[in-house]
Amino acid sequence: MRTTVALTVLSFTVALVFGTAVAAGRVSPVRPLRWAGALWVEIVRNTPLSVLMVMFFFGFTKFGVIYPAFTSAVIVLSAYTSAFVAEAVRAGINTVAGGQAEAARALGLTFGQTLREVVLPQAFRSVVGPLGGLFIALIKNSSLASLLSVVDLTEAANRLTTDTAQPVPVFLGAAGAYLLLTFPSGAVIAAIERRVAIKR
Protein backbone atom coordinates (compact mmCIF):
# COMPACT_ATOMS: atom_id res chain seq x y z
CA MET A 1 0.00 0.00 0.00
CA ARG A 2 2.75 2.39 0.99
CA THR A 3 4.56 1.68 -2.24
CA THR A 4 1.48 2.46 -4.29
CA VAL A 5 1.03 5.78 -2.52
CA ALA A 6 4.71 6.60 -2.93
CA LEU A 7 4.62 5.72 -6.61
CA THR A 8 1.53 7.83 -7.20
CA VAL A 9 2.64 10.91 -5.28
CA LEU A 10 6.17 10.94 -6.68
CA SER A 11 5.07 10.33 -10.26
CA PHE A 12 2.32 12.93 -10.09
CA THR A 13 4.65 15.59 -8.77
CA VAL A 14 7.16 14.99 -11.53
CA ALA A 15 4.40 14.75 -14.12
CA LEU A 16 2.89 18.06 -13.00
CA VAL A 17 6.18 19.88 -13.30
CA PHE A 18 7.24 18.29 -16.55
CA GLY A 19 3.77 18.38 -18.07
CA THR A 20 3.39 22.07 -17.37
CA ALA A 21 6.77 22.65 -18.97
CA VAL A 22 5.64 20.76 -22.07
CA ALA A 23 2.41 22.75 -22.17
CA ALA A 24 4.38 25.98 -21.91
CA GLY A 25 6.53 24.79 -24.78
CA ARG A 26 3.49 24.12 -26.89
CA VAL A 27 2.15 27.66 -26.53
CA SER A 28 5.53 29.34 -26.77
CA PRO A 29 6.60 31.39 -29.77
CA VAL A 30 9.60 29.09 -30.27
CA ARG A 31 8.63 26.69 -33.03
CA PRO A 32 11.02 23.77 -32.28
CA LEU A 33 9.63 23.78 -28.74
CA ARG A 34 6.10 23.56 -30.06
CA TRP A 35 7.02 20.63 -32.28
CA ALA A 36 8.92 18.82 -29.56
CA GLY A 37 5.99 19.25 -27.20
CA ALA A 38 3.47 18.00 -29.72
CA LEU A 39 5.67 15.01 -30.57
CA TRP A 40 6.08 14.09 -26.92
CA VAL A 41 2.39 14.24 -26.23
CA GLU A 42 1.35 12.28 -29.30
CA ILE A 43 3.87 9.46 -28.89
CA VAL A 44 3.49 8.99 -25.16
CA ARG A 45 -0.27 9.30 -25.06
CA ASN A 46 -0.76 6.74 -27.80
CA THR A 47 1.52 4.01 -26.46
CA PRO A 48 0.07 1.58 -23.94
CA LEU A 49 1.51 2.04 -20.48
CA SER A 50 2.36 -1.65 -20.14
CA VAL A 51 4.43 -1.47 -23.31
CA LEU A 52 6.22 1.66 -22.06
CA MET A 53 7.02 -0.03 -18.75
CA VAL A 54 8.51 -3.18 -20.22
CA MET A 55 10.28 -1.30 -23.01
CA PHE A 56 11.97 1.10 -20.59
CA PHE A 57 12.94 -1.53 -18.04
CA PHE A 58 14.15 -4.29 -20.35
CA GLY A 59 14.68 -2.65 -23.70
CA PHE A 60 16.55 0.52 -22.75
CA THR A 61 19.30 -1.50 -21.08
CA LYS A 62 20.68 -1.95 -24.57
CA PHE A 63 21.34 1.81 -24.57
CA GLY A 64 23.00 1.62 -21.19
CA VAL A 65 19.96 3.00 -19.39
CA ILE A 66 19.55 0.88 -16.28
CA TYR A 67 17.58 2.07 -13.27
CA PRO A 68 16.27 -0.03 -10.40
CA ALA A 69 12.67 -1.16 -10.61
CA PHE A 70 11.03 1.48 -8.39
CA THR A 71 12.88 4.34 -10.08
CA SER A 72 12.04 2.97 -13.50
CA ALA A 73 8.38 2.75 -12.57
CA VAL A 74 8.34 6.36 -11.37
CA ILE A 75 10.09 7.52 -14.54
CA VAL A 76 7.65 5.75 -16.83
CA LEU A 77 4.56 6.73 -14.84
CA SER A 78 5.69 10.36 -14.74
CA ALA A 79 6.41 10.43 -18.44
CA TYR A 80 3.07 8.85 -19.29
CA THR A 81 1.04 11.12 -17.03
CA SER A 82 2.96 14.23 -18.08
CA ALA A 83 1.60 13.91 -21.61
CA PHE A 84 -1.95 14.09 -20.29
CA VAL A 85 -1.08 16.86 -17.86
CA ALA A 86 0.40 18.85 -20.73
CA GLU A 87 -2.82 18.65 -22.68
CA ALA A 88 -4.96 19.57 -19.69
CA VAL A 89 -2.81 22.55 -18.79
CA ARG A 90 -2.70 23.69 -22.39
CA ALA A 91 -6.49 23.63 -22.50
CA GLY A 92 -6.50 25.65 -19.28
CA ILE A 93 -4.12 28.20 -20.72
CA ASN A 94 -6.36 28.63 -23.72
CA THR A 95 -9.35 29.46 -21.54
CA VAL A 96 -7.58 32.44 -20.03
CA ALA A 97 -8.80 35.47 -21.90
CA GLY A 98 -6.40 36.59 -24.61
CA GLY A 99 -6.64 40.09 -23.29
CA GLN A 100 -4.64 39.06 -20.25
CA ALA A 101 -1.62 38.07 -22.28
CA GLU A 102 -1.85 41.20 -24.39
CA ALA A 103 -2.09 43.42 -21.35
CA ALA A 104 0.96 41.67 -19.91
CA ARG A 105 2.95 42.28 -23.09
CA ALA A 106 1.90 45.91 -23.05
CA LEU A 107 3.26 46.17 -19.53
CA GLY A 108 6.61 44.86 -20.77
CA LEU A 109 6.53 41.39 -19.23
CA THR A 110 8.49 38.68 -21.05
CA PHE A 111 6.88 35.46 -22.21
CA GLY A 112 8.17 33.59 -19.17
CA GLN A 113 6.94 36.21 -16.76
CA THR A 114 3.57 36.40 -18.50
CA LEU A 115 3.14 32.71 -18.08
CA ARG A 116 4.27 32.50 -14.50
CA GLU A 117 2.62 35.57 -13.02
CA VAL A 118 -0.51 36.05 -15.13
CA VAL A 119 -1.62 33.11 -17.23
CA LEU A 120 -0.78 29.97 -15.27
CA PRO A 121 -2.32 31.02 -11.95
CA GLN A 122 -5.60 31.64 -13.73
CA ALA A 123 -5.29 28.55 -15.93
CA PHE A 124 -4.77 26.24 -12.99
CA ARG A 125 -8.02 27.26 -11.39
CA SER A 126 -9.96 25.77 -14.27
CA VAL A 127 -7.67 22.77 -14.64
CA VAL A 128 -8.06 21.32 -11.14
CA GLY A 129 -10.86 18.99 -12.22
CA PRO A 130 -9.06 17.31 -15.12
CA LEU A 131 -5.82 17.15 -13.14
CA GLY A 132 -7.67 15.49 -10.32
CA GLY A 133 -8.97 12.92 -12.77
CA LEU A 134 -5.42 12.27 -13.90
CA PHE A 135 -4.34 11.77 -10.30
CA ILE A 136 -6.98 9.12 -9.78
CA ALA A 137 -6.04 7.49 -13.06
CA LEU A 138 -2.45 7.45 -11.86
CA ILE A 139 -3.43 5.63 -8.67
CA LYS A 140 -4.79 2.88 -10.87
CA ASN A 141 -2.01 2.99 -13.46
CA SER A 142 0.56 2.51 -10.73
CA SER A 143 -0.59 -1.10 -10.63
CA LEU A 144 1.47 -1.66 -13.77
CA ALA A 145 4.62 -1.24 -11.71
CA SER A 146 3.94 -4.85 -10.78
CA LEU A 147 5.20 -5.76 -14.25
CA LEU A 148 8.62 -4.65 -13.05
CA SER A 149 8.20 -6.66 -9.85
CA VAL A 150 7.77 -3.52 -7.72
CA VAL A 151 5.93 -4.71 -4.64
CA ASP A 152 2.92 -2.42 -4.82
CA LEU A 153 -0.68 -3.33 -4.01
CA THR A 154 -1.13 -5.39 -7.16
CA GLU A 155 2.13 -7.30 -6.83
CA ALA A 156 1.38 -8.01 -3.19
CA ALA A 157 -1.95 -9.45 -4.29
CA ASN A 158 -0.20 -11.54 -6.95
CA ARG A 159 2.19 -13.01 -4.40
CA LEU A 160 -0.63 -13.68 -1.95
CA THR A 161 -2.47 -15.58 -4.65
CA THR A 162 0.56 -17.82 -5.18
CA ASP A 163 0.68 -18.60 -1.49
CA THR A 164 -3.02 -19.14 -0.91
CA ALA A 165 -4.32 -20.30 -4.32
CA GLN A 166 -7.41 -18.12 -3.68
CA PRO A 167 -7.35 -15.46 -6.39
CA VAL A 168 -10.91 -14.16 -6.01
CA PRO A 169 -10.86 -13.00 -2.38
CA VAL A 170 -7.31 -11.70 -2.75
CA PHE A 171 -8.06 -9.58 -5.79
CA LEU A 172 -11.37 -8.39 -4.37
CA GLY A 173 -9.34 -7.18 -1.41
CA ALA A 174 -6.88 -5.44 -3.71
CA ALA A 175 -9.73 -3.73 -5.58
CA GLY A 176 -11.13 -2.61 -2.23
CA ALA A 177 -7.76 -1.19 -1.24
CA TYR A 178 -7.56 0.82 -4.47
CA LEU A 179 -11.05 2.16 -3.81
CA LEU A 180 -9.84 3.23 -0.36
CA LEU A 181 -7.30 5.38 -2.20
CA THR A 182 -9.42 6.69 -5.05
CA PHE A 183 -12.65 7.63 -3.28
CA PRO A 184 -11.09 9.96 -0.70
CA SER A 185 -8.84 11.43 -3.38
CA GLY A 186 -11.90 12.20 -5.45
CA ALA A 187 -13.58 13.91 -2.50
CA VAL A 188 -10.51 16.03 -1.75
CA ILE A 189 -10.17 17.04 -5.38
CA ALA A 190 -13.81 18.07 -5.54
CA ALA A 191 -13.33 20.20 -2.41
CA ILE A 192 -10.30 21.93 -3.90
CA GLU A 193 -12.19 22.53 -7.11
CA ARG A 194 -15.00 24.25 -5.30
CA ARG A 195 -12.64 26.50 -3.43
CA VAL A 196 -10.69 27.73 -6.44
CA ALA A 197 -13.56 27.80 -8.90
CA ILE A 198 -13.84 30.97 -10.88
CA LYS A 199 -17.06 32.70 -9.95
CA ARG A 200 -18.64 33.60 -13.23
Binding site: E155, A157, T162
Partner: protein, 327 residues
Protein backbone atom coordinates in the same frame (compact mmCIF):
# COMPACT_ATOMS: atom_id res chain seq x y z
CA UNK B 1 -37.72 -4.20 -53.81
CA UNK B 2 -35.00 -6.19 -55.42
CA UNK B 3 -31.93 -5.14 -53.40
CA UNK B 4 -32.95 -6.56 -50.00
CA UNK B 5 -33.89 -9.84 -51.65
CA UNK B 6 -30.46 -10.18 -53.31
CA UNK B 7 -28.77 -9.40 -50.02
CA UNK B 8 -30.84 -12.00 -48.23
CA UNK B 9 -29.96 -14.59 -50.86
CA UNK B 10 -26.26 -13.85 -50.52
CA UNK B 11 -26.42 -14.10 -46.75
CA UNK B 12 -28.30 -17.38 -46.86
CA UNK B 13 -25.90 -18.75 -49.48
CA UNK B 14 -22.78 -17.89 -47.50
CA UNK B 15 -24.26 -19.24 -44.28
CA UNK B 16 -25.06 -22.55 -45.91
CA UNK B 17 -21.57 -22.73 -47.40
CA UNK B 18 -20.13 -22.20 -43.93
CA UNK B 19 -22.47 -24.87 -42.61
CA UNK B 20 -21.34 -27.33 -45.27
CA UNK B 21 -17.70 -26.57 -44.54
CA UNK B 22 -18.24 -27.16 -40.82
CA UNK B 23 -20.04 -30.41 -41.53
CA UNK B 24 -17.24 -31.46 -43.85
CA UNK B 25 -14.57 -31.13 -41.17
CA UNK B 26 -16.53 -33.37 -38.84
CA UNK B 27 -15.43 -36.44 -40.73
CA UNK B 28 -14.91 -38.95 -37.97
CA UNK B 29 -11.22 -39.89 -37.94
CA UNK B 30 -12.18 -43.20 -36.46
CA UNK B 31 -13.74 -44.10 -39.79
CA UNK B 32 -10.47 -43.61 -41.69
CA UNK B 33 -8.56 -46.89 -41.69
CA UNK B 34 -5.05 -46.29 -40.46
CA UNK B 35 -2.78 -49.27 -40.48
CA UNK B 36 0.49 -47.38 -40.12
CA UNK B 37 -0.11 -46.34 -36.49
CA UNK B 38 2.56 -47.47 -34.06
CA UNK B 39 1.92 -49.35 -30.84
CA UNK B 40 -1.58 -50.27 -32.01
CA UNK B 41 -2.77 -46.66 -32.03
CA UNK B 42 -4.79 -46.97 -35.18
CA UNK B 43 -8.27 -45.49 -34.79
CA UNK B 44 -8.77 -45.95 -31.02
CA UNK B 45 -12.28 -46.42 -29.74
CA UNK B 46 -13.21 -44.36 -26.72
CA UNK B 47 -16.14 -44.89 -24.38
CA UNK B 48 -18.99 -42.52 -25.22
CA UNK B 49 -19.24 -39.41 -23.05
CA UNK B 50 -15.57 -39.34 -22.08
CA UNK B 51 -13.36 -36.38 -22.83
CA UNK B 52 -11.32 -38.54 -25.21
CA UNK B 53 -14.39 -39.34 -27.28
CA UNK B 54 -15.42 -35.68 -27.38
CA UNK B 55 -11.95 -34.62 -28.50
CA UNK B 56 -11.81 -37.34 -31.10
CA UNK B 57 -15.11 -36.33 -32.67
CA UNK B 58 -14.14 -32.65 -32.52
CA UNK B 59 -10.99 -33.60 -34.40
CA UNK B 60 -8.74 -31.26 -32.46
CA UNK B 61 -7.52 -30.43 -28.98
CA UNK B 62 -5.81 -27.45 -27.34
CA UNK B 63 -2.70 -27.83 -25.21
CA UNK B 64 -1.08 -25.04 -23.23
CA UNK B 65 2.72 -25.03 -23.36
CA UNK B 66 5.52 -22.57 -22.78
CA UNK B 67 6.64 -20.57 -25.79
CA UNK B 68 9.91 -19.23 -24.40
CA UNK B 69 11.65 -22.19 -22.72
CA UNK B 70 14.41 -23.91 -24.68
CA UNK B 71 14.08 -27.67 -24.47
CA UNK B 72 10.49 -27.69 -23.24
CA UNK B 73 8.42 -25.26 -25.26
CA UNK B 74 10.14 -22.81 -27.55
CA UNK B 75 8.50 -21.09 -30.47
CA UNK B 76 10.68 -21.29 -33.54
CA UNK B 77 10.57 -17.79 -35.05
CA UNK B 78 11.16 -18.97 -38.61
CA UNK B 79 8.59 -21.76 -38.76
CA UNK B 80 6.17 -20.40 -36.16
CA UNK B 81 5.96 -23.89 -34.63
CA UNK B 82 6.53 -24.67 -30.95
CA UNK B 83 9.20 -27.28 -30.20
CA UNK B 84 10.32 -29.06 -27.07
CA UNK B 85 9.88 -31.96 -24.67
CA UNK B 86 6.48 -30.76 -23.42
CA UNK B 87 5.32 -30.42 -27.00
CA UNK B 88 6.45 -33.96 -27.80
CA UNK B 89 4.64 -35.35 -24.77
CA UNK B 90 1.56 -33.49 -25.95
CA UNK B 91 1.80 -35.09 -29.38
CA UNK B 92 2.24 -38.53 -27.83
CA UNK B 93 -0.92 -38.03 -25.76
CA UNK B 94 -2.76 -36.81 -28.85
CA UNK B 95 -1.72 -39.96 -30.70
CA UNK B 96 -3.61 -41.99 -28.11
CA UNK B 97 -6.70 -39.81 -28.49
CA UNK B 98 -6.82 -39.50 -32.27
CA UNK B 99 -4.81 -42.46 -33.46
CA UNK B 100 -1.90 -42.40 -35.86
CA UNK B 101 1.72 -41.47 -35.20
CA UNK B 102 2.68 -38.69 -32.81
CA UNK B 103 3.43 -36.34 -35.69
CA UNK B 104 0.15 -37.03 -37.44
CA UNK B 105 -1.82 -36.52 -34.24
CA UNK B 106 0.26 -33.42 -33.59
CA UNK B 107 -1.37 -31.84 -36.63
CA UNK B 108 -4.67 -31.95 -34.74
CA UNK B 109 -3.28 -30.17 -31.69
CA UNK B 110 -3.48 -26.43 -31.24
CA UNK B 111 -0.58 -25.32 -29.01
CA UNK B 112 -1.19 -22.09 -27.13
CA UNK B 113 1.02 -20.23 -24.70
CA UNK B 114 0.36 -20.96 -21.05
CA UNK B 115 2.60 -18.84 -18.83
CA UNK B 116 3.02 -20.10 -15.27
CA UNK B 117 0.37 -17.88 -13.73
CA UNK B 118 -2.27 -18.75 -16.33
CA UNK B 119 -2.12 -22.53 -16.06
CA UNK B 120 -4.85 -22.96 -13.45
CA UNK B 121 -7.21 -20.32 -14.90
CA UNK B 122 -6.93 -21.83 -18.39
CA UNK B 123 -7.88 -25.27 -17.12
CA UNK B 124 -10.65 -23.97 -14.89
CA UNK B 125 -12.13 -21.98 -17.78
CA UNK B 126 -11.78 -24.77 -20.28
CA UNK B 127 -9.64 -22.59 -22.51
CA UNK B 128 -7.28 -25.52 -22.94
CA UNK B 129 -7.80 -29.29 -22.70
CA UNK B 130 -4.36 -30.01 -21.26
CA UNK B 131 -1.48 -28.04 -19.79
CA UNK B 132 1.99 -29.44 -20.42
CA UNK B 133 4.09 -26.49 -19.37
CA UNK B 134 6.83 -27.54 -16.91
CA UNK B 135 3.89 -27.88 -14.54
CA UNK B 136 5.06 -29.03 -11.11
CA UNK B 137 2.59 -31.21 -9.23
CA UNK B 138 1.79 -30.04 -5.73
CA UNK B 139 -1.08 -30.32 -3.26
CA UNK B 140 -2.19 -26.71 -3.47
CA UNK B 141 -2.63 -27.00 -7.22
CA UNK B 142 -4.44 -30.32 -6.87
CA UNK B 143 -7.25 -28.33 -5.28
CA UNK B 144 -7.87 -26.52 -8.55
CA UNK B 145 -6.74 -28.89 -11.32
CA UNK B 146 -6.03 -32.58 -11.92
CA UNK B 147 -2.61 -34.04 -12.73
CA UNK B 148 -1.56 -37.04 -14.79
CA UNK B 149 2.00 -38.23 -14.43
CA UNK B 150 4.62 -37.15 -13.49
CA UNK B 151 6.29 -37.46 -16.87
CA UNK B 152 9.58 -35.98 -15.66
CA UNK B 153 11.26 -35.04 -12.40
CA UNK B 154 13.45 -31.95 -12.40
CA UNK B 155 15.30 -30.46 -9.48
CA UNK B 156 15.50 -26.80 -8.54
CA UNK B 157 18.91 -25.19 -8.98
CA UNK B 158 20.48 -21.74 -9.20
CA UNK B 159 21.91 -19.91 -12.21
CA UNK B 160 24.46 -17.11 -11.86
CA UNK B 161 26.93 -15.31 -14.07
CA UNK B 162 29.87 -17.58 -14.83
CA UNK B 163 32.24 -15.12 -13.18
CA UNK B 164 30.32 -15.14 -9.87
CA UNK B 165 31.78 -17.43 -7.18
CA UNK B 166 29.94 -16.03 -4.18
CA UNK B 167 26.81 -18.16 -4.52
CA UNK B 168 27.32 -21.89 -4.01
CA UNK B 169 24.16 -23.06 -2.32
CA UNK B 170 20.62 -21.99 -1.69
CA UNK B 171 21.58 -20.47 1.70
CA UNK B 172 23.93 -18.08 -0.10
CA UNK B 173 20.85 -16.53 -1.68
CA UNK B 174 19.93 -14.84 1.58
CA UNK B 175 20.42 -11.12 1.24
CA UNK B 176 20.82 -11.32 -2.53
CA UNK B 177 18.47 -10.44 -5.37
CA UNK B 178 16.99 -13.61 -6.81
CA UNK B 179 14.71 -13.80 -9.80
CA UNK B 180 12.09 -16.36 -10.61
CA UNK B 181 8.67 -16.52 -12.20
CA UNK B 182 5.48 -15.42 -10.48
CA UNK B 183 3.14 -18.19 -9.45
CA UNK B 184 5.70 -20.98 -9.74
CA UNK B 185 6.81 -23.54 -7.18
CA UNK B 186 10.30 -22.10 -7.68
CA UNK B 187 9.09 -18.93 -6.02
CA UNK B 188 7.72 -20.84 -3.03
CA UNK B 189 10.85 -22.94 -2.62
CA UNK B 190 13.18 -19.97 -2.70
CA UNK B 191 11.08 -18.09 -0.15
CA UNK B 192 11.01 -21.19 2.04
CA UNK B 193 14.68 -22.09 1.87
CA UNK B 194 16.19 -18.60 1.69
CA UNK B 195 13.79 -16.40 3.64
CA UNK B 196 16.13 -13.40 3.61
CA UNK B 197 16.51 -13.46 -0.14
CA UNK B 198 15.17 -10.48 -2.05
CA UNK B 199 12.82 -12.12 -4.54
CA UNK B 200 12.09 -10.41 -7.86
CA UNK B 201 9.19 -11.86 -9.81
CA UNK B 202 8.49 -11.58 -13.51
CA UNK B 203 6.07 -13.32 -15.81
CA UNK B 204 8.64 -15.04 -17.99
CA UNK B 205 11.94 -16.85 -17.41
CA UNK B 206 13.40 -15.01 -20.36
CA UNK B 207 12.87 -11.75 -18.45
CA UNK B 208 14.71 -13.23 -15.47
CA UNK B 209 17.61 -14.18 -17.70
CA UNK B 210 17.73 -10.63 -19.05
CA UNK B 211 17.68 -9.22 -15.54
CA UNK B 212 20.63 -11.44 -14.61
CA UNK B 213 22.53 -10.31 -17.67
CA UNK B 214 21.83 -6.65 -16.87
CA UNK B 215 23.01 -7.09 -13.33
CA UNK B 216 19.65 -6.30 -11.79
CA UNK B 217 19.65 -9.64 -9.95
CA UNK B 218 22.44 -11.86 -8.73
CA UNK B 219 20.79 -15.20 -9.44
CA UNK B 220 17.92 -16.94 -11.16
CA UNK B 221 16.45 -20.00 -9.51
CA UNK B 222 14.14 -22.55 -11.03
CA UNK B 223 14.24 -26.13 -12.35
CA UNK B 224 17.65 -27.25 -13.58
CA UNK B 225 16.26 -28.22 -16.99
CA UNK B 226 14.83 -24.75 -17.54
CA UNK B 227 18.12 -23.21 -16.39
CA UNK B 228 20.11 -25.42 -18.76
CA UNK B 229 18.05 -24.07 -21.62
CA UNK B 230 18.60 -20.49 -20.48
CA UNK B 231 22.37 -21.06 -20.18
CA UNK B 232 22.45 -22.36 -23.71
CA UNK B 233 20.31 -19.51 -25.03
CA UNK B 234 22.67 -17.03 -23.43
CA UNK B 235 25.69 -18.72 -24.98
CA UNK B 236 24.09 -18.40 -28.39
CA UNK B 237 23.14 -14.78 -27.77
CA UNK B 238 26.57 -13.52 -26.66
CA UNK B 239 27.37 -11.50 -23.53
CA UNK B 240 28.61 -12.71 -20.15
CA UNK B 241 27.93 -16.44 -19.96
CA UNK B 242 25.83 -17.99 -17.21
CA UNK B 243 26.48 -21.17 -15.26
CA UNK B 244 24.57 -23.53 -13.00
CA UNK B 245 25.64 -23.58 -9.36
CA UNK B 246 24.88 -27.34 -9.26
CA UNK B 247 23.49 -27.33 -5.72
CA UNK B 248 20.06 -28.81 -6.41
CA UNK B 249 17.33 -28.54 -3.81
CA UNK B 250 13.76 -29.81 -3.98
CA UNK B 251 12.20 -32.20 -6.45
CA UNK B 252 9.97 -30.86 -9.19
CA UNK B 253 7.71 -33.56 -10.64
CA UNK B 254 6.24 -32.28 -13.91
CA UNK B 255 2.69 -33.41 -14.61
CA UNK B 256 0.09 -33.05 -17.34
CA UNK B 257 -2.54 -30.64 -16.07
CA UNK B 258 -6.18 -31.31 -16.87
CA UNK B 259 -9.55 -30.21 -15.56
CA UNK B 260 -10.21 -31.24 -11.99
CA UNK B 261 -12.53 -34.17 -11.50
CA UNK B 262 -12.11 -35.71 -14.97
CA UNK B 263 -11.08 -39.13 -13.62
CA UNK B 264 -11.62 -41.06 -16.86
CA UNK B 265 -9.32 -38.73 -18.78
CA UNK B 266 -6.71 -38.80 -16.00
CA UNK B 267 -6.65 -42.59 -15.97
CA UNK B 268 -6.40 -42.61 -19.77
CA UNK B 269 -3.43 -40.24 -19.72
CA UNK B 270 -1.68 -42.16 -16.94
CA UNK B 271 -2.10 -45.40 -18.90
CA UNK B 272 -0.65 -43.75 -21.98
CA UNK B 273 2.30 -42.35 -19.99
CA UNK B 274 3.17 -45.79 -18.64
CA UNK B 275 2.97 -47.09 -22.20
CA UNK B 276 5.44 -44.57 -23.58
CA UNK B 277 7.77 -45.04 -20.58
CA UNK B 278 7.98 -48.71 -21.46
CA UNK B 279 8.11 -48.67 -25.25
CA UNK B 280 10.92 -46.15 -25.71
CA UNK B 281 8.86 -43.27 -27.12
CA UNK B 282 9.42 -41.23 -23.95
CA UNK B 283 13.21 -41.68 -24.16
CA UNK B 284 13.08 -40.79 -27.84
CA UNK B 285 11.17 -37.59 -27.12
CA UNK B 286 13.70 -36.69 -24.41
CA UNK B 287 16.70 -37.27 -26.63
CA UNK B 288 15.32 -35.21 -29.49
CA UNK B 289 14.63 -32.21 -27.26
CA UNK B 290 16.30 -31.97 -23.83
CA UNK B 291 19.03 -34.31 -24.95
CA UNK B 292 20.08 -31.68 -27.47
CA UNK B 293 20.78 -29.32 -24.55
CA UNK B 294 23.36 -31.73 -23.26
CA UNK B 295 21.19 -33.42 -20.63
CA UNK B 296 21.60 -37.17 -20.18
CA UNK B 297 18.44 -39.21 -20.66
CA UNK B 298 17.33 -40.33 -17.19
CA UNK B 299 15.09 -43.22 -16.19
CA UNK B 300 11.41 -42.44 -16.66
CA UNK B 301 9.58 -41.59 -13.45
CA UNK B 302 6.77 -43.54 -11.81
CA UNK B 303 3.23 -42.41 -12.46
CA UNK B 304 1.35 -41.26 -9.36
CA UNK B 305 -2.30 -42.27 -9.52
CA UNK B 306 -3.47 -40.30 -6.51
CA UNK B 307 -7.12 -40.26 -5.52
CA UNK B 308 -8.70 -36.91 -6.07
CA UNK B 309 -8.54 -34.36 -3.24
CA UNK B 310 -11.47 -32.15 -2.27
CA UNK B 311 -11.77 -28.90 -4.13
CA UNK B 312 -10.79 -25.64 -2.42
CA UNK B 313 -13.82 -24.02 -0.72
CA UNK B 314 -14.49 -21.33 -3.33
CA UNK B 315 -17.91 -21.33 -4.90
CA UNK B 316 -17.01 -19.36 -7.96
CA UNK B 317 -15.70 -20.94 -11.14
CA UNK B 318 -14.49 -17.80 -12.90
CA UNK B 319 -10.79 -17.23 -12.64
CA UNK B 320 -9.38 -13.83 -11.72
CA UNK B 321 -7.25 -12.37 -14.49
CA UNK B 322 -3.58 -11.94 -13.72
CA UNK B 323 -2.87 -8.33 -12.89
CA UNK B 324 -0.19 -8.09 -15.51
CA UNK B 325 -2.74 -8.50 -18.25
CA UNK B 326 -4.36 -5.15 -17.43
CA UNK B 327 -3.43 -2.73 -20.25
Amino acid sequence: MRRPRRLTTMVVASLSLLGLAACGSDDDPAVTPDTTGDGGNAAPQHAAGTTMAELQSAGSMTIGVKFDLPGFGLRNPTTGEVEGFDVEIGKLMAAAVFGGTADEAGEKVKFVEAISANREPFLENGQVDLVISTYTINDARKQRVGFAGPYFVARQDIMVKASDTSINSVEDLNGKNVCTVRGSTSEKNVRAQAPQANVTLFDLYSQCAEALGDGRVAAVSTDNTILAGLVQARAAQGGDPFKLVEAPFSDEPYGIGLAKGDEAFRTFLNDRLEEIFANGEWAEAFESTLGQLGLRTPEPPTVDRYSDVAAAPTTTTTAAPTASSVP
